[in-house]
């Protein structure tokens, strides 16, 4: 029981500890100053209410809970489309971006002579091989990755919080503006936090609580050491802050956080994708050969090939990757919002009363997703990508649905 809680936690915080989340947290804290704290509390309360809704008694238990709730709300095709489009593009694009970042970090912090791309491909190969072993091994290694990243980040945060460069009163005067679109970006920090391996539903999400503590301390340390202008514009605010807090040892500690955070995030995303595909395969809404029960190697190799192709073809060196990755994160947010909306519908039907706070939070999540697209200068590119992915996912799900129906009714 305790081990399943630990493993769920390790999966739930995998994205929270990724370099991408640290960049988003750093940039937003620079843009909104101390107002980041109330915004962060608001986002955590919002997700907390939605999580409580998803764990309402009467809703199906894990695993496969998400698919069944979505299926109840919008049918099999919609549920399959949303599940696939939430995890596959995110795993491939985040994998590409994070591995490249880890490669640069290793090259610039630890070994100058080691090629950054070589390190990225090495990590990809090791994480792919890891998927060939039993799922438990991957999960326990996930605990190690996440534990190291969390330990390093908390050490840096606590050092920064207890020895700030400027007093708290100065941090309070640093507010540089608040906007709904920058607050919406905070929603992207908690991707995948609701992942749970526990059969019994827990009223609160431990990953959300841990994530809140980590970001609260890290943002406090960042604002106490680096100017808001620098935080808002830096592409690696985590490294700037780490260097300011502990000098070169801080850089090295942050290097460990980035590499372990990348391994944790990618391993977590692959495990999450495999779990979703296994559920879909069990429900016969995707071909059974995709399931890890049938062919353990297929999906990890497919994902690794996609990530490797993206890296080798130079997507990492293209600005396009940033807008595609942001779109993939929004697709996850959209999936989560619609999951909550379906859960509201389910609860309303079962208990004959509408859970208004959860409905309000769900509508806020949908508004946040729309704001993230509309408020971004790359909105056209992002909209095209989101619609293309949803269309392709929908088409594939529909085709498979009718193939299965045809085989069922064939003599």
């Amino acid at each position: 029981m305790k081990s399943s809680l630990l493993l769920s936690l390790a999966l739930g915080v995998s994205w929270i500890l990724s370099p991408e989340s640290l960049v988003i947290a750093g940039n937003i804290s620079g843009q909104t100053g101390w107002l980041t704290f109330p915004s962060l509390i608001g986002v955590v309360i919002l997700y907390g209410i939605c999580n409580r809704l998803l764990r309402t008694e009467g809703l199906p238990p894990a695993p496969g809970r998400e698919f069944l709730i979505l299926q109840h709300g919008g049918g099999s095709i919609t549920a399959t489309t949303l599940c696939l489009t939430a995890c596959l593009p995110l795993t491939v694009l985040a994998g590409t971006a994070l591995l490249v970042t880890a490669g640069y970090t290793f090259n610039e912090v630890f070994l100058y002579w080691f090629p950054n791309f070589g390190f990225s491909f090495l990590l990809l190969a090791l994480l792919t091989i890891l998927q060939l072993f039993r799922k438990e091994y991957g999960l326990w290694l996930q605990v190690c990755f996440v534990g190291l990243a969390m330990g390093g980040l908390l050490t840096l945060s606590l050092c920064g919080v207890f020895s700030p460069d400027k007093p708290a009163s100065e941090i309070l005067r640093q507010s540089t503006g608040f906007s709904f679109s920058s607050a919406s970006l905070l929603l992207l920090l908690f991707v995948g936090h609701s992942t749970s391996l526990e059969q019994k539903a827990r009223p609160s999400s431990p990953a959300l609580t841990i994530g809140f503590i980590i970001f609260f301390l890290w943002i406090l340390a960042s604002l106490g050491h680096v100017t808001p202008e620098k935080l808002a514009t830096s592409t690696i605010p985590y490294m700037t802050t780490a260097r300011k807090i502990l000098g070169d040892p801080g850089r090295q500690l942050m290097g460990v956080v980035i590499i372990c955070g990348t391994c944790g995030a990618l391993n977590g995303l692959i495990i999450l994708t495999r779990d979703i595909v296994d559920t879909l395969s069990r429900e016969k809404t995707v071909p059974s050969f995709l399931s890890s029960k049938k062919q353990r190697w297929f999906l990890p190799f497919f994902l690794a090939a996609a990530i490797g192709t993206c890296m080798a073809t130079g997507l990492a060196g293209d600005e396009l990757l940033e807008s595609l990755l942001r779109s993939a994160l929004i697709l996850w947010l959209l999936y989560y919002s619609l999951l909550c909306l379906s859960a509201v519908y389910w609860v309303q039907k079962v208990s004959a009363s509408t859970p208004y706070p959860a409905l309000f939070c769900t509508l806020l999540l949908i508004a946040g997703s729309i704001t993230l697209v509309v408020g971004d200068p790359r909105r056209l590119q992002m909209s095209i990508f989101i619609f293309s992915v949803l269309f392709t996912g929908g088409l594939l799900s529909t085709c498979w649905y009718f193939i299965i129906r045809y085989h069922k009714h064939a003599p």
């Binding site: 971006a97 490669g103 640069y104 690696i236 490294m239 850089r251 990492a316 060196g317 293209d318 600005e319």
Partner: protein, 88 residues
């Protein structure tokens, strides 16, 4: 046999490419360091995407000029003054 010859020719051509570019002058890091801040020197960081954003090392005073936008930014710099382009 034909395939093997074609492959060998391709490898030879690929390895000869850097030699073709060898007449582009290079500057040692010591020389560049000594000339940093000079008004006659333009330093351009031609990295783009994650290659640029993930890197901690950016030369002070360097102007960002992504490689794929060469046609756009190359018009803005004088051809008679030295320009240093770096990508790693």
């Amino acid at each position: 046999m034909k395939k093997l010859l074609a492959l060998l020719s391709f490898i030879l051509f690929a390895t000869a490419l850097p030699a073709l570019a060898a007449d582009a002058p290079t500057m040692s890091k010591e020389e560049l360091k000594s000339r940093l801040g000079s008004p006659n020197l333009t330093i351009l960081d031609v990295r783009s995407g994650r290659d640029w954003s993930s890197s901690e090392f950016k030369i002070q005073g360097a102007i960002r000029a992504p490689g794929e936008q060469l046609a756009v930014w190359s018009k803005h710099y004088p051809k008679d003054k030295p320009m240093v382009l770096y990508c790693a």
